[in-house]
């Protein structure tokens, strides 16, 4: 049995890492060699996953850069190699933040839109973000509400006075200034005249306000607002790259930076810098990145990554059996999600930002309801407060109630879900499928056996064994946590055995409980590489492709050089070819 590794790594890694996976060839990221995935017969082949070569294939989700092992060829050839750059529609959270910054409207209208559709680990994958009729209608409703609110305070919305300036001149000015902020670049002459014509059409027979209102409604439903449109700077084309690539324009770079680091539109400083053409050199961009990371808007933006990566929004709706877990209430669910986000915020902005801290710190943030489940004394009220959890029981993200709840069944724990999560989201590995055409008939279970005993059969009996041997022995390490994350020393009347085994990783071996597991994972190069890969996927709204080897390699090096400080990884994203360039658009 083998696993398919989804994160390539350079051959410069310690030799010990090369022993991880049978049949998987690791390659230097900068020599242009492609790693072949698992051996023939494991059910996965390079061709079966439509690698980066399929990017751009019409009608294929592979345009997202469906990339798996082997797709990511290494190519630091000296020519920029940015990978694909599909058109990105604003996500729900981007929409909410954008209208907050554009109009000062904090009603978060996108929260009631139909959910962003998901391909891959994140809900911001570009090719999945289509606009079905239900969403078009939601855009209309939101635009009408937002515009209605905005025109109720014309003095705040329109800088000029239509009486003093004259209505037509004032409308012209409004279209120009509002349009530029909404489109995140100056309007073209056609856009300017089109919106002014719209204003006149709706002014006619009504009033100035009605004309302005129509402009706001139209802008909020138009393509340059809803999509992050990029064509690049054709004067900088690198024709020797294949395909030819272009650097982003200063305005496009302003949007890339703001949506990555702030989850929102560029602020005035970014637009002003773009006006002056000062978002093109590495130094200019680095200066903005430093400023932006120090801004409060970086916090909710980074929360977006963790929230999506850990599927934290699902905590609110996950179903548990009320007789098994009577403590599982809507307020506890909300607090679980808030706890993990507070912990992430603390690691990123108050502590050291390091991956090991995310994975091993016993610090957390609890209110009375959470404290009761954790068994922490002395916490009252609904507000979260910083506490030290028992370091023998709790260690970083993985042992928090939110994760254990998400990775638990309605009435029990789930070694399978927990092991699978570690494999997929922390190690970026894919569990190979069982052989074709087998009939899986799980062995009978006896009442009264522990969860561990029940699942142990999985890893002893073929054909279950082939897959479950990769999941369950990791998941068993979490057996001290029930289906909502509460510590337990006893399961079904027997002492919990939370010993586990890691295999097919660079930190193979036995471990004791999730605390022991987390300590091992924090030492794993595969885990830190996976963090890089996941941030790449999130930052670019797509999977990695053959063309991204150099970008990923530079991120890995920067991350390693910072002692795995995730903040340094964010900076590194903005320095990659993938961030600075895009393929020339060939309609």
């Amino acid at each position: 049995m083998s696993v398919l590794n989804r994160t390539q790594r350079p051959a410069t890694f310690p030799v010990a890492l090369g022993t991880l996976l049978t049949g998987t060839i690791f390659v230097a990221a900068c020599t242009g060699v492609v790693g072949a995935p698992g051996p023939a017969g494991n059910g996965l082949t390079a061709g079966s996953v439509a690698g980066g070569g399929a990017a751009g294939a019409s009608g294929s989700n592979a345009g997202s850069g469906a990339s798996q092992s082997g797709a990511e060829a290494a190519a630091c050839t000296g020519q920029p190699s940015p990978g694909p750059a599909p058109l990105r529609r604003l996500t729900q959270s981007e929409y909410n933040s954008t209208v907050r910054d554009l109009l000062g409207d904090t009603t978060q209208p996108a929260s009631s839109f139909p959910p962003d559709q998901q391909i891959g680990d994140f809900t911001n994958t570009a090719v999945a973000l289509t606009v079905p009729p239900l969403l078009a209608q939601a855009y209309q409703t939101a635009a009408e509400q937002l515009a209605g609110t905005a025109v109720s305070n014309m003095a705040a919305l329109v800088a000029c006075d239509p009486v003093q300036t004259g209505e037509d001149a004032c409308a012209q000015q409004f279209v120009q200034t509002f349009g530029k902020r909404a489109f995140r670049r100056p309007l073209t002459a056609d856009e300017q005249s089109g919106l002014v014509a719209l204003y006149h059409a709706n002014r006619s027979g009504a009033d100035f306000t009605n004309g302005v209102r129509s402009v706001v409604e139209a802008v909020l439903q138009s393509a340059p607002f809803l999509y992050r449109v990029e064509f690049g700077d054709a004067t900088g084309v690198v024709a020797t790259s294949t395909p030819p690539v272009v650097p982003l324009t200063a305005y496009e770079m302003a949007s890339r930076l703001s949506y990555f680091l702030w989850d929102s539109m560029p602020d005035d400083a970014l637009l002003t810098a773009a006006d002056a053409g000062q978002l093109t050199t590495a130094d200019q961009i680095a200066a903005q990145v430093g400023r932006m990371l120090a801004d409060a808007k970086a916090k909710p933006a980074v929360e977006q990554f963790y929230g999506q990566w850990l599927t934290l929004d699902d905590v609110a709706s996950i179903a548990k059996d009320p007789t098994t877990y009577p403590e599982f209430t809507p307020t506890l669910q909300a607090a679980m999600r808030a706890e993990t986000l507070a912990f992430v915020d603390w690691v990123m902005w108050q502590s050291d930002g390091r991956l090991s801290t995310l994975l091993t710190s016993p610090t957390s943030f609890v209110n009375a309801e959470l404290a009761a489940v954790y068994g922490v004394a002395g916490v009252t009220g609904a507000a979260l407060q910083q506490v030290q959890l028992d370091p023998a029981q709790r260690s970083g993200l993985l042992t928090q109630l939110s994760l254990m709840t998400l990775l638990g069944k309605p009435d029990r724990s789930s070694p399978v879900l927990r092991g699978k999560f570690v494999r997929e989201r922390l190690l970026c590995q894919t569990i190979a499928p069982p052989p074709a055409n087998i009939v899986i008939t799980p062995p009978p279970i006896k009442p009264g056996v522990t969860t561990r005993e029940m699942f142990s059969m999985h890893s002893q009996v073929e054909p279950c064994k082939s897959c479950h041997a990769l999941m369950d022995p990791i998941g068993f390490g979490f057996e001290n946590y029930d289906g909502v994350g509460k510590w337990r020393a006893v399961d079904e009347g027997q002492p919990v055995d939370a010993s586990g085994t890691l295999s097919s990783t660079d930190v193979d071996g036995l471990f004791d409980g999730a605390v022991g597991l987390a300590a091992k994972l924090a030492q794993s190069r595969e885990v830190s590489d996976c963090m890089v890969t996941e941030w790449f996927r999130y930052a670019f709204g797509r999977g990695e492709t053959a063309a991204d080897g150099c970008s990923l390699d530079s991120m890995r090096r920067a991350f390693a050089a910072s002692n795995l400080d995730v903040r340094a990884l964010l900076v590194a994203v903005t320095e990659t070819d993938a961030f600075r360039y895009r393929p020339e658009v060939t309609p």
Binding site: G56, A218, P330, T441
Partner: protein, 436 residues
């Protein structure tokens, strides 16, 4: 909070007549002829217990199974299909649940992508249009909504959770909030005629501008991006026609706000969604609708029937685990009760010489056959309603050789008047079934 809608609020925009119509009301075809036929798809997850699902007997002489027993009042209006095989699911990316869900109504492989399932190669969304949308493409223009998609606590938006597609990589999300569904379909404008006229004029000019912005961008982007912009433009076109159409005076159900995150509300949400769906059909708002309970791999614990384990968890238990098997029968029987509720609702509306149900084709499907082996054959399919007399109901149809489910899909299309000879990936489609 509870919101009750005054029935007068249901009057269409600008309509001034008194709200006198009550269910049941009679609908007629546009020219006063035969009432229109309608298609309704209902989905439930994780397969069934086939030997407790399949009725005993064949043809018109059969005894309903334990799972289908709640359908007894409609036995003469049922077609139970035995021997449908989702042949396509042997191929393409995705795990068995993903494939089952994505192929179910499209009959075509999933696109390659980056969603990793429990097994199989990673996948994107489905690679083609679903049959209901293919039908809606032909007849959707006759009604205010080409189709209406309802969901019951679907709560996720990935390939496991989408069954309706307007095209490759174009999943259509269901309406999950009954209040919003109600408002979209039934709530007319409260504006006076002059204000309404002004609003509609502004809306038209605004949407024209939005369309223009998409049209000017589309030629300048890559072909992949252009497909998405085209769908966006199509979507705006659809809401344009909706806002211009007037909701006819028509009776609608009472809808109250429900917490959509509380699992205990699952039955109540389902019920009100069925109420709205039935009323939308009765009121001629659409001819194509679907109802999706949860999603494939649904792990809903049905505490209200004393089943504490999650549905998907139970569906993995071995055949020899009689307790779990019994609970799976309970779960599927509960879903049959919900199906019966929907049928009863439709059957309560007099229409033409019969009932609304007689003019419907209500199809209950699943993404799997048997949960613990993730099989795709035989697919449990129940069709209810006469489709305006086109279906010969009151039968169990056992196919002597397994039929690719593409054959079923093309049959549904044909019965709804879409004149096509193949559907989905033609490699799996050998021709329509004879259900008449």
């Amino acid at each position: 909070m509870t919101a009750r809608f005054d029935r007068r609020a249901l009057l269409g925009a600008g309509a001034a007549m008194a709200a006198t119509s009550l269910l049941p009301r009679r609908a007629r075809g546009a020219d006063g002829g035969a009432p229109p036929t309608r298609l309704v798809i209902m989905f439930t997850a994780n397969g069934t217990i086939y030997n407790q699902w399949l009725p005993q007997g064949t043809g018109s002489s059969f005894t309903l199974s334990p799972i289908l027993a709640p359908l007894a009042p409609f036995q003469s209006k049922l077609l139970v299909l035995d021997g449908i095989n989702v042949l396509s699911a042997a191929n393409g990316p995705g795990d068995d649940h993903m494939k089952g869900m994505g192929h179910m109504l499209t009959g075509i492989e999933l696109l390659p992508g980056t969603t990793q399932g429990g097994a199989g190669t990673p996948a994107g969304f489905a690679g083609g249009i679903s049959v209901d949308q293919r039908i809606a493409a032909d007849i959707g223009g006759q009604t205010r909504f080409p189709s209406l998609e309802f969901g019951v606590m679907v709560q996720s938006s990935d390939v496991w959770s989408r069954m309706i597609y307007s095209g490759a990589n174009q999943p259509l999300p269901p309406m999950e909030d009954p209040m919003k569904a109600f408002s979209r379909i039934f709530t007319g404008s409260q504006l006076n005629p002059a204000a309404l006229t002004a609003l509609l004029a502004r809306r038209k000019s605004v949407l024209d501008y939005a369309q223009g912005s998409l049209a000017s961008l589309a030629p300048r982007v890559s072909s992949d991006d252009r497909v998405r912009l085209q769908q966006h433009a199509d979507s705006i076109r659809q809401i344009e026609s909706q806002l211009l159409a007037q909701t006819s005076a028509c009776s609608a159900p009472t809808v109250t706000a429900i917490d959509l995150t509380n699992n205990a509300n699952y039955p109540a949400v389902g019920k009100v969604q069925m109420d709205i769906l039935a009323a939308a059909l009765a009121c001629g708002q659409t001819r194509v609708a679907s109802l999706q309970w949860s999603h494939s791999v649904s792990d809903v614990p049905m505490s209200w029937i004393n089943v504490t384990s999650g549905h998907h968890t139970l569906s993995h238990k071995p055949d020899t685990d009689t307790v779990s098997q019994g609970q799976l029968v309970q779960i599927n029987t509960w879903y049959a009760q919900q199906f019966a509720y929907l049928l009863a609702k439709l059957d309560s509306v007099a229409e033409g010489s019969g009932t609304l149900l007689d003019n419907c084709m209500v199809v209950w499907v699943n993404e799997l056959s048997k949960g613990n082996v993730h099989s795709h054959k035989p697919l449990p399919v129940v069709i209810a309603g006469g489709c305006g007399g086109a279906l010969k109901t009151g039968r169990v149809v056992s196919f002597s050789s397994a039929q690719p489910h593409n054959n079923l899909l093309v049959t549904l299309a044909d019965l709804m008047g879409t004149n096509i000879t193949t559907f989905g990936n033609p490699a799996y489609c050998t021709g329509p079934l004879s259900l008449a």
